[in-house]
Amino acid sequence: MAILTKALYTTVSLAVITVYSLLLIGTMARVRAKVQGRIGQPAYQPFIDIIKNNAKRTGISHGVMFFLGPVFRLAGGLGTYLFIPVIFGSVIFANFSFAGDLLLVMYFIFFGQLGMALGAGESAHPYSPIGVARGLAQMTAFELPFALSVIAVAAQYGTLSITEIVAAQQGGFTNWVAFTNPLAMIAGMLAFLGMSMGNPFSVVMAPQEIPIGPPTEMQSSFLGMLQTNRAIFNGAKMVLFMNLFWGGAAHQYLIVAILIMVAKTFLIYLYVTIVGASFPRFRTEQSIRFFLGVPTVIGIIAVVLQMV
């Protein structure tokens, strides 16, 4: 019975984050439009796009692996989200968090991309493996500063549980990791730029050079599933970074806590959007060189500082 209640709560939490993330993606598209002097698409446009793609009357599959690609991607997004506690102290938004969830979440961030690589490979479109190769190369590079910053935070509080990391940051913003361990925060937030695949790290999708990269052959409900996953995965990553560096979301009233979560994740996404609107695209080797340079050095210093 307890697990059924838990499943129900998680469904509610999943629905909230999906709707919120889709709205956030639409809002950020509007922000980018404002930077370019346009009005931009309606904030609810991602919903219509997903309905439209799922309402296509035909769909082409290239085989079992092609079919499973988006499924793995969605499993990766769901897996990432389901093990992250969204609201500190809330039963409904605790999801399936447990003592060592941070390691599992880091694994799940990788999992979807690898599954997608297999699916995109079977589509046999030449641009798909190019996008996959670029994506995996870039991911390997930003994983280094990300892992170093996570190690620094885990060492700081002596735990791999996200809930305990959030608990340790309560009691005022000066307790946030962003202020107690700023080097880990900087390395993590720089890695987050690559993780979000916006400019300047958008070479994976790069619609102008390799049509949309890995999902070139994905259409109809395959694409609808990928778009849904994009919302869930983005939401999960923002909530993870909010928990790790920005004190999580906690309040005695649930609605206020949700508003805090909305405000913090909005600002985290806004940071990615502003960087994306300000910088042109890196080539793959440039982005690898970037991630293995300053962010990695900052991450190493953050870890070393925890050791001494």
Partner: protein, 254 residues
């Protein structure tokens, strides 16, 4: 049935063992090769394959390549009825993804639409780099025969429901190219067209007006171009093959 096509190709290439395959045992030949050899070279044979066996001859492909391609003609998929289809049509009309394929000089008019002056994104219109993901094909002006050879597979690779905008007078009657030796005059002889935008060149405002008209038609359930193409597939295909002489692709590009 004699396996003349394969025999001839082997003989022309002078491949070793050509004599050995001249009179092969019919049981050892791949079924695809056995049925299509010889028959696909004649119009009567192609029609028989299409009408009796309900599949495509793919006679433009080399016999050994035919097994790699699908030979199913497109099928008519009936829309839902009532409120549900109206809702889906509303979503389709509010999310128009254009195939980023500038087929002629008129494609230059699409660029201002994306930028801040006309900003098509606010109407839910955006470009998409691959035919698999797009639903609107804007034929930008004159369509030369060489471009038609690319327009046809691009249109067929789009997933239905799909819509076609004919931009400029050239798509209606050939425009200033009406007596040209290598451009088509009426676009809708080759692919179904939903909306024409007259002019040479039509301004971006006209293009936006065309999009608004397309939206109205989609909401009214009048844009069934993909089904029209499937229903009249033989006619469209015959027209396409009449102008594209070096047809070396599958009859239907999935």
């Amino acid at each position: 049935m004699a396996d003349t096509t394969i025999t001839r190709i082997y003989a022309e290439k002078g491949a070793p063992g050509a004599a050995a395959v001249a009179n092969p045992d019919p049981r050892t030949i791949d079924p695809i090769d056995r049925v299509e050899s010889g028959d696909v070279q004649t119009v009567e044979g192609q029609l028989r394959i299409f009408t009796q066996e309900l599949r495509l001859a793919n006679e433009g492909l080399a016999p050994e390549d035919r097994r790699n391609f699908c030979d199913h003609p497109p099928e008519v998929i009936k829309p839902f009825r009532g409120f549900w289809e109206k809702f889906l049509n509303w979503a389709r009309s509010e999310s128009l993804w254009i195939l980023g394929f500038g087929t002629g000089c008129g494609a230059i008019e699409l660029r201002p639409l994306m930028t801040s002056r006309f900003d098509m994104y606010r109407y839910g219109i955006q470009p998409r780099p691959t035919p698999r993901q797009s639903c609107v094909f804007v034929i930008g002006g004159y369509a030369s025969v060489k471009t038609m050879k690319r327009i046809v597979p691009s249109y067929e690779q789009m997933q239905g429901p799909k819509f076609v905008l004919g931009l400029g007078s050239c798509t209606i009657n050939g425009g200033m190219y009406w007596d040209s030796y290598n451009t088509v005059n009426r676009l809708d002889h080759y692919i179904p067209v939903d909306v024409y935008i007259a002019g040479c060149m039509p301004r971006p405002e006209s293009l936006l007006a065309g999009f608004m008209e397309l939206k109205r038609m989609i909401k009214a359930g009048e844009c069934e171009g993909a089904n029209k193409y499937a229903e009249n597939f033989e006619w469209y295909k015959a027209n396409q093959k009449r102008i594209i002489k070096d047809w070396n692709m599958p009859d239907y590009n999935w």
